[in-house]
C-alpha cells in the first residue's frame, strides 16, 4: 500500500486502518465506560431499595419483640430474632425510642451511632448513607403503642445499617460488570479489525492494480470495484488516458516541428555550391549547428514528456531489433556485435529513449570500431530491477584519447557546439543519460577501443 502513497516530507499520516482502529477503541472505551457507570448506579439504587425492604422487615422483627409496660416503659427482648442484632459491631443496629426511654440493640454496644429522632406515628423514612446520617443507612418507622385507658404511646423504631453491608454485593457486581464490558469491548475491537480488513480489501486491490500500471503490466484500471470506488476508477482511467493523449500530442508536435525544420535545412544544404569557399563553409556550419540544436533540444523536450508509468521495455528484444538493423546497414563491413544481457532484463523507461541511446552508442561503435562490438546490460540492483540498468558498449577501434574524453562529455552536456565524429550521437546519448539522472564515462575497453559505461536510473 505504501508504494502508491506520495512521498511525504513531513511525518507520514496514519494509515486508514490505524485511524479507524484507534477511533473505535476510543469510542468503545468512552461508551462502554458510560454504560458501566450507568449500570453501576442502577445496581446501587436497586440494592439500596433491597436494603430498605430488609430494614423494614427488621423493624417488624423488633416491634414483634417489643412489649410496653403500663407505665410506658419499653421491654424488649435481648435477641429480637436476628442474631446480628445481638452481636456487637455486626453492622446492623436497632433502636427503639419511646416517650421516656430508649432501647438500643446489643449490636450497637460501643458503636457511635447518630442520635435517633422521633417521627410522627404512621410515617416511615429512609435516609441513604451520607455525612448527615453519620455514614449509616437509617430507616425510621413511627408507631403508636396502645396503653390502657385509650392512651397512646408514640414509639419510633430506627434501624441503622453500616454501608459495608452492601459492599460485598457491589464488589461482586462491579467486577462481573467490568469483566464482561471489557470482554465485549475486546470482541468489538476485534470485529472492527476484521470488518476493516474486509472493507478495505477493494482499496488494497485498487492499489495493487495501480502498482500494476506503474510496472507496465496493466494499461488501465479494469477491475470490478465496489460502487463507491467507481468514480475513483473512472477518474484515474481518465487521467491515464489524458496523460497518454497529451504525451502523444506533444510528441507529434515535436515530430512535426523536427520534420518541418529539417527539410528546409536539407534544401539549404543541398543547394550549397560544392566548393570550399568561406561562404559555403560558414553556411554549412550554420546548418550543422541548427541540426545539432534540433536533435539535442528536441530530445530534451521529448524526454521531459516522458510518462511516469512507462511500461517495461524488454531489453533483449529491443537490442536484437537494433543489432539486426545495424547489421543490415553495415552489411558490407562484416561487423560482429556481441550482446550480453541478463535474462529477462527490463528497462522501466521509454522504449524510444532506450533505442535512441543504444542505437547511437552501437552506431558509433560500428562506425569507429574495427568490426568487433560488444554491448552488455545489467540491472543496477539485483533486489529491485526497477531501480535502473547499467550498460556498457565496447569496440575494437582506436578508442578516444584520454584528454579528449572529458571534452567530448562536456560538449555534449552543453549541446550547442559543433562536434565531429562521435559528436551528435554522443550529444543525444548525454541528453538521455541526464534525463534519467544517470552517469556516463568513457574508458579504454577490453576490446582495445572506446568503452562507454552508462547507468540509467528509472526510479
Amino acid at each position: 500500500m505504501s508504494k502508491v502513497s506520495i512521498e511525504a516530507h513531513q511525518q507520514k499520516p496514519w494509515s486508514l486502518r490505524t485511524r479507524l482502529v484507534v477511533l473505535a477503541v476510543l469510542l468503545l472505551t468512552v461508551s462502554l465506560g458510560l454504560v458501566g457507570f450507568a449500570l453501576d448506579a442502577a445496581f446501587h439504587r436497586s440494592s439500596e431499595a433491597g436494603l430498605q425492604a430488609r430494614m423494614e422487615s427488621l423493624v417488624y422483627l423488633v416491634l414483634g419483640a417489643t412489649e410496653v409496660a403500663e407505665n410506658g416503659v419499653l421491654v424488649i427482648d435481648e435477641n429480637p430474632g436476628d442474631p446480628r442484632l445481638a452481636q456487637p459491631g455486626s453492622g446492623i443496629y436497632a433502636s427503639v425510642s419511646g416517650a421516656q426511654d430508649r432501647w438500643d440493640s446489643v449490636s450497637s454496644l460501643g458503636v457511635n451511632l447518630p442520635e435517633p429522632v422521633l417521627i410522627p406515628t404512621g410515617e416511615s423514612q429512609f435516609l441513604p448513607a451520607s455525612e448527615k446520617t453519620g455514614g449509616y443507612y437509617i430507616f425510621y418507622y413511627g408507631v403508636s403503642w396502645e396503653l390502657t385507658q385509650g392512651r397512646m404511646l408514640p414509639v419510633t423504631v430506627t434501624i441503622f445499617v453500616d454501608p459495608q453491608e452492601l459492599q460485598p454485593e457491589l464488589r461482586a457486581f462491579r467486577s462481573g460488570l467490568w469483566q464482561s464490558l471489557g470482554l465485549a469491548g475486546l470482541i468489538l475491537v476485534l470485529a472492527q479489525v476484521i470488518l476493516l480488513a474486509l472493507g478495505l480489501r477493494p482499496l488494497r486491490r485498487i492499489s495493487e492494480d495501480i502498482s500494476g500500471i506503474e510496472s507496465g503490466k496493466l494499461e488501465r484500471l479494469e477491475g470490478n470495484y465496489p460502487v463507491e470506488l467507481e468514480p475513483l476508477q473512472r477518474n484515474l482511467n481518465h487521467l491515464l488516458e489524458t496523460e497518454q493523449a497529451n504525451q502523444a500530442r506533444y510528441r507529434n508536435a515535436l515530430d512535426s516541428l523536427a520534420h518541418s525544420l529539417k527539410t528546409p535545412l536539407s534544401v539549404i544544404r543541398s543547394s550549397l555550391p560544392s566548393d570550399d569557399s568561406p561562404k559555403t563553409v560558414a553556411m554549412d556550419h550554420a546548418v550543422t549547428d541548427m541540426q545539432h540544436l534540433i536533435a539535442t533540444r528536441l530530445q530534451r523536450a521529448a524526454a521531459s514528456a516522458r510518462s511516469s508509468n512507462a511500461p517495461a521495455v524488454d531489453v533483449k528484444i529491443q537490442l536484437e531489433r537494433l543489432v539486426s538493423s545495424l547489421k543490415r546497414v553495415y552489411s558490407q563491413q562484416l561487423i560482429n556485435i556481441d550482446v550480453l544481457i541478463e535474462p529477462e532484463l527490463a528497462f522501466y523507461g521509454e522504449q524510444r529513449d532506450f533505442l535512441e541511446l543504444t542505437g547511437n552508442l552501437l552506431d558509433n561503435a560500428c562506425k569507429y570500431g574495427a568490426g568487433q562490438v560488444r554491448i552488455s546490460a545489467h540491472t543496477m540492483d539485483t533486489e529491485d530491477d526497477r531501480v535502473g540498468i547499467r550498460l556498457q558498449v565496447d569496440d575494437n577501434g582506436p578508442g578516444i584519447a584520454e584528454d579528449k574524453r572529458e571534452q567530448l562529455l562536456q560538449r555534449g552536456v552543453r549541446g550547442d557546439e559543433r562536434v565531429e565524429g562521435h559528436g551528435l550521437g554522443l550529444a543525444i546519448v548525454l541528453e538521455i543519460v541526464n534525463s534519467y539522472h544517470g552517469e556516463i564515462s568513457i574508458e579504454q575497453g577490453e576490446l582495445g577501443g572506446a568503452c562507454v559505461n552508462i547507468t540509467l536510473k528509472t526510479r
Partner: protein
C-alpha cells in the same frame, strides 16, 4: 543506374534530383507515396530513395508494399525524424540504409553508391578488371596508370554492366536503366555507346571486356571478371 526519388518537399526534390543527375544517375521523381509505389512497381529501378513522411502513402507502408511485391532493389530512407525507433522500423520494413535530414549531398551520393555496389556484391569502392581499374566513387576508369576519358553515358553503360556481372543485359534494359522515364529512348544509341566504350577502354581489341551475345545483349567478359 536508374534511381527513384520519392520526396514531398518540392525544393528538396528538385535539388536532390539535380545532384543525383549530376552524379550520373537517371532519376525519376515523385512527390507522393501512391505515385511512388506505382513507379516502384513499374519502372526498372536500381535503387529508391524514399522520404518517410509522405502524403498519400507513408514511406514505411510504401517500403513494405514494394518488398511484399518482391521488389528487391536497395532502398535508402530519408528521414527528418532522427529517432532510432524510426530508423529501426524503417529497416525492419525492408529498407537498407537511412539518411537523416539535413544531410550533406556528398553523404547522399556516397550512400547511394555504396548501396548500389553492395547490391552488386562489390564490397570495395573500386573494381579491377584485368588491367582496368574502375573507381566507382569518383566514377573514373584507369587502364594501368592511364585514365580513360569517358562521357557520362559511356560510363553509365559500363557501370551498369559492372554492377550486373553475371547477367546478359539487353539493349532495352540498358536503355531503361540509364535513361529516365520521360526521355526519348532509342536502343540503337546503346550500340553506339557500347562501340565507343570498347574502343576507349580496349583500343587494341585484346581484352574484349564486353562480349556481345548475339541477339540477346551484352555481358561482362568472364575471363577478366573481378575476383
Amino acid at each position: 543506374m536508374r534511381l527513384l526519388l520519392v520526396e514531398d518537399d518540392h525544393d528538396l526534390q528538385t535539388s536532390l534530383a539535380e545532384i543525383l543527375r549530376g552524379a550520373g544517375y537517371a532519376v525519376d521523381v515523385s512527390g507522393d507515396g501512391i505515385e511512388g509505389l506505382f513507379f516502384g512497381q513499374e519502372y526498372p529501378l536500381d535503387l529508391a530513395i524514399i522520404d518517410l513522411g509522405l502524403p498519400g502513402l507513408p514511406g514505411l507502408d510504401l517500403i513494405r508494399k514494394l518488398r511484399k511485391q518482391e521488389r528487391q532493389f536497395p532502398i535508402l530512407i530519408l528521414t527528418a525524424r532522427a529517432d532510432w525507433q524510426d530508423k529501426v522500423e524503417g529497416l525492419e520494413a525492408g529498407a537498407d540504409d537511412y539518411l537523416t535530414k539535413p544531410f550533406h549531398p556528398e553523404e547522399l551520393k556516397a550512400r547511394v553508391g555504396a548501396l548500389l555496389r553492395r547490391s552488386a556484391g562489390h564490397a570495395q569502392p573500386s573494381v579491377e578488371l584485368g588491367p582496368l581499374k574502375i573507381d566507382l566513387v569518383s566514377q573514373r576508369v584507369f587502364n594501368g596508370e592511364r585514365e580513360i576519358d569517358l562521357t557520362t553515358y559511356e560510363y553509365k553503360v559500363f557501370e551498369y554492366l559492372l554492377m550486373h556481372p553475371d547477367a546478359v543485359v539487353t539493349k532495352t534494359v540498358l536503355a531503361e536503366h540509364i535513361y529516365e522515364e520521360d526521355n526519348d529512348r532509342d536502343s540503337n544509341v546503346i550500340e553506339v555507346f557500347v562501340g565507343r566504350l570498347r574502343r576507349k577502354i580496349d583500343p587494341e581489341g585484346l581484352l574484349n571486356p564486353i562480349e556481345t551475345m548475339r541477339g540477346r545483349g551484352y555481358r561482362l567478359n568472364k575471363l577478366t571478371r573481378p575476383i
